[in-house]
Subunit: 294 residues, 4 copies
């Protein structure tokens, strides 16, 4: 693994700084950039260099990663003045790890490759903890040779990398998985609601689930929080609902009926309407469980 | 653990013979009975004794377990001529491990305790493999002291025992868990359907799920089977649908809306109507995925 | 039309007294009975005779109608002491116009015909007003010759009589129609909710509906009540929900998926859980429309 | 009613020519235009004048109506070369009767009023027959004085005119009504399916519905067609599904859950996936009714 390669990382938010930090600690030569320069200091202290603009990162580096907070900032970093695109040319490599919609990923991909450069979309599954521990799951799509070349860096950032084919597939994979998550949290809510109303202990239900075929981290993590009404936001309910809705739109385009996802979407919408949009997605439980009227 | 205690086991089907077999192998003194006596031979070879009727088992034993195939056979063994009830009296203990509905469990419980005996409903979660390996999950409810007393035997048969309160709660817990299973298999079907139609590889979807918060034995086991259209029956689809429907009935009695379970139920009904009732429950995937008409 | 025929009518509730009253006013010779005799007085004043028991009505009359309030009272009147069944024999004719479930209709039918008598189930569609005006719709099933013979009397009580085949079909027809009613009231609720939230006037929506392909008495009647939050009970919400649920059970037995009815059922259950069970079924609107949280 | 007023009508499709024809027959002075001039001949024979471009119609007329086939053609007629917009100025009046989405209506409205002219969106409810007979329902929104001024012409084209407020409300009203239509056709499908499977005659179900609170033109028209499997296209299923989907999107924006519409949408999607998109919307019945597998 040639440590003489110059690596760029754009975006020093919670996720980006964690991923770039692991690259620095692994001994790679890393140049970083962030809109507000202050967020670069911690990594500079560990040996990272700083560039003045995204374009300057691209100019200096062989391969540049980016992780911004949403589609708008992803576009700004790429298409803005002195942005990524301004530095793109044959031989340059750009890997966008931001979570964006399929259209944004495709537009960035088309713009980058039109300049003769290589592009990879690579959103991740996992949050702050896994990012710090290099335990992310990387959903790469686009330029296969670039994916292979980026493997050593992905291995430092994540526990597993998937190459999913053409650009857009990374975004779609996130939708499919998040849609299933939305159904599952609604299912857990209905199970806990009917179970506790029928006289079972909520904790017993969770323990029995833990011993069976449905045992998964989501239930272990969210189940107790729901019973204790702890709804600190790990993944905001409004984003969970948005993703289920987008997956339904994808199904609508493809002619694929998804009645169970549609039912879960309506329940999530009811929770958003109840004012829980910024709380954790598992607060959907609060609209599912019935408060008996005497 | 007093190995001089006389233990009875009624019902030598796949599950019952596996559980009784573990008790014999653990060195307990076990008396067995089965409607067709031939099924008793294997255990007799290992040291079990045989009684002529359920009543005879009860008469000889301090504590008797039973595991029959359905509510009708559970009732027959208890209420039939020379049945369990005929032998019940103060000091006798009966643990019914059959999977029955709440009403059957309650009727048997009422009849047994009316004779001055102790009763425990104890359906299990897990199939043949876990039964042979003593890895079942035991969902006990009813007489708490009897549950404590039966603990050494449950520990030989299962990996974990829950005491869930009053008789009926064991049956209800199975319903709640199976209802969630029904939603989850429908969710997996919709996820695989929309994902593969959108250009993703089914195996990639399963692998990504495996790395994330929804990773559970059900997905690991059923997912590949669905993609390969292997639908050998582990749990028949018609039973899966029946349980979701019963859970909805429970919700109906309690006034608990369950719209996601209701949607999953309709999908499972469509699969049953398509003739898949006797196939594995995961064949629901075949009615979810759309065959595009050109 | 032989006015010398002796006609019986059992059950002087709101519906029964209205129907029997029309028969008396039409000049027929009518003998009535009611559990509490006081309710017979008004008709006696108009010329009806009173008998002491249901059996006494049967004994005196050629053809006897009944309309009781629910399955339990229908059974009591037939199977109770000095009940309808006690008087049944060859040549007697019994027409049960009570709204009962299919099983009750069939049990009464079997018992009556086993005595050599003729039986017709004939639940009605329509409430007090149509009953007083002879505008009911009569859903008859069972003995076809008896249906033909009863035609003159049905014509006095209703505007239209259907003969639907074997006993049970009358009850089933009511379920199918009421299930569609349940879906329609939920659809109207969703339409008014999303429409008014999007800035349309509720009264405009109702007027536009009135001019179009969905124009029906239900919308004309319930729509304005919903907008004005007038929920005086014409048909209790809990009965509406029960009927949708029974129709789903019928579908479940027949293997017929009904996902839209299932979704409507959950919404009706939510309304019942909110404490609206005894209000008019159109109060489901109150749980459908979202109260925005600011 | 000043018959000296010059009236324009743009778009001589089935609907436009019928409406313009009624204006001509009523004695108004009408100038027409159509992309393919041949379609103007019939009306010219009755006394209409023809202009060369939409702009020429506007230039010559005080008030101009338009009815084109879809949003794209509505935009082309307004924004294209020598289009409506090119002629707009203070004192001109434009009434767009095309069925378009809310965004298209708003964009046209903004562009027209920016020129100092008056604008009314006025989609209609009703098809060819009602158009020829002047029995349309007109859903006007935008400039109230223009709506009043147009009243004499609307009265010739329709049986009833609604003024619904700001531009966009006309489009939204059509969505709300069509969404309810989508639910109702699914409800009728489920009712006929479960009813006929339970042994009832489909024609009996329709007749009973006709006598009750759900009696509406949609059931009278579509019901018999469904039983006889006649699916000649009056309103294409794919458009019906699209409208339900758009109404759900509207609900999604507004935070209004619509679980019954969501379930109906999935059923309509299944029908579209089955290849019925271009058939009449009532062909959804074919995917609802189960073909029993023996």
């Amino acid at each position: 693994m040639a440590k003489s390669v110059e690596i760029g990382y754009i975006g020093m938010g919670i996720m980006g700084s964690a991923m770039a930090g692991r690259l620095v600690e692994a001994g790679f030569r890393v140049t970083i950039w962030n809109r507000s320069a202050g967020k670069c200091e911690a990594l500079v202290a560990k040996g990272a260099k700083v560039a003045d603009t995204p374009k300057a990162v691209i100019d200096r580096c062989d391969i540049t990663f980016a992780c911004t907070s949403d589609p708008a900032s992803a576009r700004a970093v790429v298409f803005g003045e002195s942005g990524v695109l301004a530095g793109m040319r044959g031989g340059k490599k750009f890997v966008d790890m931001s979570t964006v919609d399929e259209e944004t990923a495709k537009e960035i991909g088309v713009a980058v490759t039109a300049k003769g450069a290589q592009f990879l979309e690579a959103p991740v599954s996992g949050s702050k903890g896994p990012a710090l521990q290099g335990q992310l799951v990387i959903l790469a799509a686009g330029d296969k040779p670039l994916c292979d070349e980026a493997k050593p860096y992905f291995d430092v950032m994540g526990k597993r990398t998937f190459f999913l084919g053409e650009v857009g597939n990374g975004a779609r994979m996130k939708l499919v998985v998040n849609m299933m998550m939305g159904i599952n949290i609604a299912a857990l809510s209905e199970g806990l609601a009917v179970g506790t109303q029928s006289g079972l202990q909520g904790t017993d239900i969770l323990e029995v689930l833990k011993e069976g075929a449905l045992n998964c981290p989501m239930i272990s993590l969210k189940g107790p929080a729901m019973l204790e009404q702890r709804y600190d936001t790990a993944f905001p309910l409004k984003h969970q609902q948005k993703d289920v809705n987008l997956a339904l739109s994808l199904g609508n385009q493809l002619g694929q009926p998804m009645p169970v996802a549609a039912a879960a979407n309506e329940t999530l919408k009811a929770a958003k309407a109840a004012g829980y949009g910024d709380d954790d997605m598992c607060k959907v439980y609060e609209v599912v469980k019935v408060r008996k009227v005497e």
